[in-house]
Symmetry: C2
């Protein structure tokens, strides 16, 4: 399985347009020990011809234009894309808005849970742009713990199988309280375990509210784990802004501290462990910081835009 | 009045992710006589400190990061932006999606017609992200032929006045037929006439379905006219794709031909005339083409990303 990481930041990217935190200020003036990052976008392929996006980032247009393997191939049909489909892990704006950048009448498989489809298609009329003509988006309902196969828009198998795993009952802030009562909690946020014919497994978990024994048992069998690297500490935003929510209240396990991801997952020996979905405020982005060192010392990597893996 | 053009392309930008037209193919391989373009984004200011966006493009994040005058200023509040507000001329995805890129709890004035507000806020729950806290987006209802003043989020006057002018009854394709029957046709798409204390006038008309005597009389008084440059010819997309809608059916007056914009507007002597919102398929993008020459010979310009004006 071929894996390309096109972006690694959380919502708003790094730097973030209206943020004056130390990280954002110094990366803008060029004094930062580290790199700017676009919003999280990963894609996978079994043949490097047909690609599947894991979520759809608001930066997707620029990410496609910066990666020539995603350019359309010359043909006589007017339109083409190596992008065969998209798997959504949540209805968060920074994970799903990019679908609207794929609206130019392209056949496309979209895989998401029933509640995510309902939020996007029933509560957000703009997504009708993906179904203006018959030969455009096909929406496929998936659910936690039920493995499915990724297929091309014409129904050919890709050789990649995907197991969704429930990781949080946290629906996005824009979903009304009334709507949330109608939606199944276990389908709010999923992680993905992707496997091709070779038996190698990629775990994609950009938002994880908590880690239980079930999830841990899955993680132990992975070859690569991409895990929620949003916040370093639980009160990161509150300390910077003077108010707001904790990381856990926002559906993100913090990296540091007792019960954080370094504490809970660093013992896993098999998977290569990478943090993705990194918020602009996270001190580990600064390579001169102690937190950056701590992550690598614990056997983790901090994913970078442009990183390529082969499993 | 200070005017900055951050992007000049129509929806999908140039090149467009899944398009294999001659323009898109050759710009990707570097053999094109012309420039790539991001999606249309213009902003105006009377003091170069506080800026107002004319529409909000899906490319806005990258457009802000590429233009340091839109960077936040250092302060102790955690967040800041020189962007004071946004005026929307339609609910088209390529003109309004960028609002969702301004969702990080920033005080902001948003000006749009009642139907556009209804489409965005009632029919698209994601836009609730702009009103999560009390000190965030203020929505201001505007209507055709009623002048209003642009104000900062704290209510200070900017010195810029704006007159909306109805230009088309064409609601976006994603708005259901039932919803359209509930909405006033004259508020579907507007153009803007912006004027500061000096009496100079900028006309911003990125989508114009037809030009009547009323509109022509406004145009004659302008110093700069930015006009719908989407399609060169009425059947441009149909000829490329073998099917689809004409430019006029999509709410865009074509540039060429009898009754096109070159024919109807080139006699206007006072305004500096610029085409904006240029579709990737438009042959005038290619500077070696006869159509490029025709535009300049007729006294028009083709706006480019990064262009700066002072009125």
């Amino acid at each position: 399985m071929y894996v390309r990481i096109l972006g690694t930041a959380a919502g708003g990217a790094f730097p973030q347009w209206n943020c004056v935190c130390r990280n954002c200020q110094s990366v803008r003036v060029g004094s930062f020990s580290g790199r700017p990052r676009s919003q999280l976008q990963v894609c996978v392929s079994s043949d490097r011809t047909s690609w599947f996006l894991l979520n759809a980032s608001p930066d997707l247009r620029v990410q496609i234009e910066s990666n020539s393997f995603l350019y359309p191939q010359t043909n006589n049909l007017g339109r083409h894309s190596p992008i065969s489909g998209v798997i959504l892990t949540s209805a968060d704006v920074d994970q799903s808005l990019g679908l609207l950048l794929l609206r130019e009448l392209q056949p496309l498989q979209i895989y998401c849970t029933a509640p995510i489809q309902r939020i996007l298609r029933e509560d957000n009329s703009m997504f009708a742009m993906l179904n203006r003509v018959s030969d455009q988006a096909s929406w496929n309902e998936i659910s936690a713990d039920t493995k499915f196969e990724l297929k091309s828009p014409t129904g050919e198998t890709s050789g990649i199988k995907c197991l969704p795993v429930s990781v949080s009952d946290h629906y996005p802030a824009y979903v009304s309280a009334k709507r949330v009562t109608e939606l199944s909690p276990k389908d709010a946020v999923i992680g993905l375990i992707l496997e091709d014919g070779s038996g190698k497994r990629l775990g994609y978990f950009p938002a994880v509210g908590q880690v239980d024994a079930h999830l841990l048992s899955h993680f132990g069998d992975l070859d690569v784990l991409m895990f929620d690297g949003t916040f370093w500490s639980d009160d990161e935003l509150i300390r910077l802004q003077g108010s707001g929510q904790t990381a856990r209240q926002m559906g993100h396990l913090p990296i540091s501290g007792k019960g954080g991801s370094l504490d809970l997952l660093s013992h896993l020996k098999r998977p290569r462990k990478m943090f993705v979905h990194i918020n602009n405020t996270n001190p580990m982005l600064d390579e001169s910081n102690e937190q950056y060192r701590q992550v690598y010392d614990a056997g983790w990597e901090i994913a970078e835009d442009g990183c390529q893996l082969e499993l």
